[in-house]
Symmetry: none
Subunit: 128 residues, 4 copies
DNA sequence: GTGGTCTAGACCACA
DNA sequence: GTGGTCTAGACCACA
C-alpha cells in the first residue's frame, strides 16, 4: 500500500503533499486503476495528520478524476497516469541511476543534484 | 537579473516560492556573492504579488544568512551555495541533457520525467 | 449582489446549494466575469452557515473553473455560462411566464408545476 | 414499474433521491393508490445501492403517509398526489412541450433550460 | 480584512 | 467501519 510522508518544512500544504504523492504513484505505476487508497484512518496512523485533511486531499483527487470515494468501502483509483517507460526497471531509469552515481561521486549533495536537475529540466534540453 | 515565477496552484506559499527560487539560483551559480536581488518593486512588476510578500521572502533569506539588505540600496547575495560541478556547462549537466533528450524521444511528458527523476532520486541510487 | 438562500429540508448539502445557486446565477447572466462573489463573512451573515462551508463551495466552483479566489481581496467570477436567450426579458421567458399563469389558473400548486415541468423536460420533448 | 436513477454527484443523499422520485411519480400520476413499489431487491438491481438505503427511503415515504409496507408482500401506494391537469396528455403538458421545442431550436442546452425554468418559477410569474 | 489551511469532534449516509 | 458534511475556532498568507 502507498505510504505517505508529510514534510512540514517543505512549504507545501499538507493536503497538497498527499495529492502530489498520489499523482506521483500514479505516474510511476505504483498505483493502478482499481487499487484502493489507504482509508483516512490508516493515513492518520501513518502521518499523524487530521482525517479531514486526508479527505480534503482525496476529494481533490476525485475532482481531478483520478480516484473515486465510495462511502462505506474506501477510495479507489479510477485512472492511470502511467507511462510504460517510467517504471523502475526501464532503461531510462537505469541510465538516470548511473548518472546519479557519478554525481554523488563528484561530491554533489542532494540539494546540488536537485538544483542541477531542476535547471536542466526547466531549460527543456534546449541547449543540447 | 533573476526572474521569479509564481505558481498559485502549486500549494507552496508565495513567499516560499521566492525563497526556493533564490536558493535554486544560488545552487546553480546564477546568483553569486555581491549580486543584487531585484527590488520589491521590480518583483511586484514581474509577478503581480504584494511588496510585503517579497519583503517577507527576503527577510527569510536574510535569516538563513544568504543575503543582506542594505537600507536605501537593495538586497545583496552574501553567500554562495554553488558547487563547481553544478554549472550549466559541467559534464554532469551535459550528460543529463542527453538523457533528457532520450526521455523526450521516448514520448515522456514533463510530468512523466518529473516522476521518474523523483523516484530515482528519492531511492538514492540504492539499487544501482 | 447575489443572495444565497439555504433550504435545510431540501436534502441537498449546504455547500452544494451555494454551488448550484452560483451556477444558476451564471446561467441567467445575473453574475458575469469580473463580478465579485460575497465574502465568506457576508454569506455567513446572509445564511447563518459556517464560513468553512462557504469556502468549501467557493473552492468547488474554483475547481470547476468558474471563479477564482484572491487572498485578501475576494472571490471573482472568471467565466460566463450565460446564453443570450436565457435572460428574464427574452421571448422564451415571456412565453414561459404566460404558461405559468395558465397553469396557476388551472389550480396547479408549485409542487404540481415542478412535477409537470420535470416530466416534460426529462422526456426531452420527444413526444411532440 | 417506476425506475429509480441515482446521481451520486447531485449533492442529494441517495435515500432522498428515492423519496423525491417517488413523490414525483405520485404527482404525475405514474403511480396511483394500490400500485406496488419495486422491492428493495429490485431497486438494488436497478441502482447498485444498498438495500438498507432503499428501506430507509420507503420508511420515510411511509411516515409521510404516501405508501404502506405489508410484511411479506411489498410496499404499496396509499395516496395520490395527482392533479388531473398534470398528466402527459394534458393541454398544459402539450403547451410546455411546444415551448421546449422552441427553446431547443434557439440553441439552449438542458442546463440553460433548467436555469430559465427555475428563474421564472421562483419568480412566481410575478412580472407577467 | 480576506481567503486558505488545519484541527478536533459531532453527526450522517452508506455498506 | 468508511467516506462525507458541518461546526467552531486557531492560525497563516496576502493585500
Amino acid at each position: 500500500m502507498i505510504q505517505f510522508r508529510i514534510d512540514r518544512r517543505s512549504g507545501v500544504s499538507t493536503y497538497m503533499q498527499i495529492v502530489q504523492q498520489t499523482r506521483q504513484a500514479l505516474r510511476t505505476g505504483l498505483l493502478v486503476p482499481g487499487d484502493k487508497l489507504p482509508t483516512s484512518r490508516e493515513v492518520v496512523e501513518m502521518t499523524q495528520i487530521n482525517p479531514n485533511t486526508v479527505l480534503k486531499a482525496y476529494r481533490h483527487l476525485e475532482m481531478e478524476g483520478l480516484v473515486q470515494g465510495r462511502a462505506g468501502s474506501g477510495t479507489y483509483v479510477t485512472r492511470s497516469l502511467h507511462h510504460p517507460d517510467v517504471g523502475p526497471d526501464s532503461p531510462l531509469a537505469d541510465e538516470l541511476r548511473r548518472w546519479l552515481t557519478r554525481a554523488q561521486a563528484a561530491g554533489l549533495e542532494r540539494a546540488d543534484i536537485d538544483a542541477l536537475v531542476k535547471s536542466v529540466l526547466d531549460d527543456g534540453g534546449r541547449t543540447t
